[in-house]
Amino acid sequence: MKKRSLLRLVLTAVLITFSYASVWGQQIKAPDFELRDVNGRTVRLSDYQGKVVLINFWATWCPPCRAEMPDLVRLQREHRQKGLQIIGITYPPEQKDRVRRFARSLKVNYPIILGTRQLKARFSSDETLPLTIVIDRDGKVSNIIVGILLREEFDEKIKPLLMKNAEGGIRSAKSNH
């Protein structure tokens, strides 16, 4: 009788562990998408596999979003060779012409996509803007940065990812260039 109870307990523990692991696995893999940017080019998240991707949800009417964009442009320029790829997604939906004009005025050097509520919901239910999803070289969500991206946060949460190869190895000086 005791053996049966023990066996039942062990089986339950194993089952719970596996179901948690499976849910966790689903959460950390970034969902793929295929959309056109404001210039008509197709953008697929899966095309950037092997890079560190920042998906930045923003809006033209959001002051902190506008304030951080010059920094994102600079980060994209400075870290492109190390494998950083930023993708801007407007949220909530906005007019294409307005977004394109705005992006041109700031000389945005990364793709800007017109987002939808459904697309945003696939990444986060947090309504704060700006919101940046950090995806590592293996295509997994490693962090969600709520609000403006601070320099300290970039150094702490994104720079280490740029130093790593896919599968977690440390990038050599040669592979950084």
Partner: protein, 99 residues
């Protein structure tokens, strides 16, 4: 022996009181009016940036009131710097008369 213990206790209390008074003397609270915080979901960047600033002990930002209440160590930062931090988030710290 008893007198020694009393002196020690009194001395310790005085030192602690001095420490608390010194810390309190360095801590200031300021309320800064912030223009443009019309969307509640984007004003959280202001408190985030303020709390990340060296010397800021606490920051409460209200988009309804359009203000930020900041508790800070005036040995490490000052009001001008705090206004700059607010402005760097895309909003505008309203200048007080005479500034």
């Amino acid at each position: 022996m008893r007198n020694r213990i009393i002196s020690l206790v009194v001395g310790t209390v005085m030192v602690m009181a001095l420490c608390v008074m010194t810390a309190a003397a360095f801590t200031k609270t300021v309320t800064i009016k912030v223009e443009g915080m019309k969307c509640a979901k984007c004003s959280s960047s202001v408190s985030k940036a303020l709390k990340a600033t060296e010397g800021v002990e606490d920051a409460t930002v209200s988009s309804d009131k359009g203000e930020a209440v900041i508790k800070y160590d005036d040995q490490k930062t000052n009001e001008t710097k705090l206004r700059e931090v607010i402005n760097s988030t895309g909003f505008k710290a309203v200048a007080e008369p005479g500034q």
